[in-house]
Amino acid sequence: MSAVSEQQVWDALSEIPDPEIPVISLVDLGVIKDVAVENGTVCIDFTPTFMGCPALETMQREMHAKVQGLGAKAEIRVVLDDSWSTDRISPEGREKLRLAGFAPPAPRTAGKLELVQLQGSAYRCPYCGSTDTRLDNLFGPTQCRSIRYCNACRQPFEQFKTI
């Protein structure tokens, strides 16, 4: 049996949907930091989004299963540092989020994130495209989202938090 290639692993992982927002894949989400094949073992560096996200275990289970499907064994290293950011969500991923009604995250700011920025109206409604929106709640139905309201189309929407 020929060894599995890194590209095959990336392709397989890009088929795993995010358990909470299935329109985007784990690769789109940017949580796969690195893939290396060493002596037939597939080593995956995985960076969780939110530390308490209940989907983290499902994601790891799915990764093991996908690699097993390629006839190899996975070793997943969970990297808990500041290296995952919503900036790692791919441009395709951001577009898929928007189409599904989730406003993609704003880029990380150089300085400290301030409430006044979030209360401002620089955030675009994913439904009508207006920036006449306001912050309703910093927190939402999952850890990664806030709730905003669009004054133009009078629709509440979910805004990805910038991390």
């Binding site: 308490g52 540092d81 995952w84 400290k112 979030l118 309703d136 927190f139 938090k161 991390i163």
Partner: protein
């Protein structure tokens, strides 16, 4: 136990117990937005606790679950501030704000740690805690904007102040005092801190509830 493990457990216990207390608002907060907010904050804090327990568990040769649930109440290292059960809004906000302010000071130290695992985890926690701080500050603004709100907040802060000091080590306390006094525009009492390890009676009650399922099925349950 190493100094490192002791530190990890202290912070993990703070986050677990406060997460539990925050979750007590789930379903009964004064309005829906706050129900969602405190539930989400609780989930974040318990996630931080899990990551910190895992680091400690690797050193102690145990598991995060065993550290979270299989110790006796007196073995927890949390600060008494997080143990208090105060299902009253002004006290909830005062505790939230005092804890997040103290935690920001503590996290800044940890982010600068020579230990890459601790520095990394602190930096990641801090990204999430930013939202908790914004939420707490928003509430402080709101309460300070009316006479009634201001007096309720001040009364709650006075009650909790010695507990808030106890979250931090001696050398970090002056910074907490500086920030809190500046924000409230008044001096806070010179008072002795309620130290870590001096548990409140409420912790034993919380522990009974928190560990009940685990104790009823020590070998694990299939759902």
């Amino acid at each position: 136990m190493s100094k490192r493990t002791d530190l990890l457990l202290s912070i993990a216990d703070d986050e677990l117990i406060l997460g539990w207390r925050n979750s007590e608002w789930t379903g009964i907060a004064p309005f829906l937005e706050e129900d969602v907010a405190f539930s989400s904050i609780a989930q974040n804090e318990i996630g931080h606790a899990r990551a910190l327990y895992e680091l400690a568990a690797a050193e102690l040769g145990t598991t995060a679950d065993e550290l979270a649930f299989d110790r006796k109440p007196e073995e927890y290292r949390c600060a008494p501030l997080v143990e208090l059960r105060r299902l009253e809004w002004a006290r909830t906000i005062a505790r939230h704000w005092l804890y997040e302010t103290a935690d920001e000071i503590r996290l800044a130290e940890l982010k600068a740690s020579d230990d890459p695992e601790i520095a990394g985890i602190a930096a990641k926690m801090d990204r999430e805690e930013t939202y908790h701080r914004m939420h707490a500050e928003m509430w402080v603004d709101r309460l300070l904007s009316t006479g009634d709100g201001r007096s309720r907040l001040n009364e709650a802060v006075d009650e909790l102040w010695p507990y808030a000091l106890g979250v931090l080590d001696d050398e970090l306390r002056p910074e907490l005092r500086r920030r809190a006094e500046e924000r409230l525009g008044r001096e806070l009492p010179e008072i002795e801190a309620v130290p870590r390890g001096a548990h409140e009676v409420e912790l034993a009650e919380l522990w009974e509830e928190m560990t009940m399922v685990r104790r009823s099925a020590p070998k694990g349950a299939q759902w």
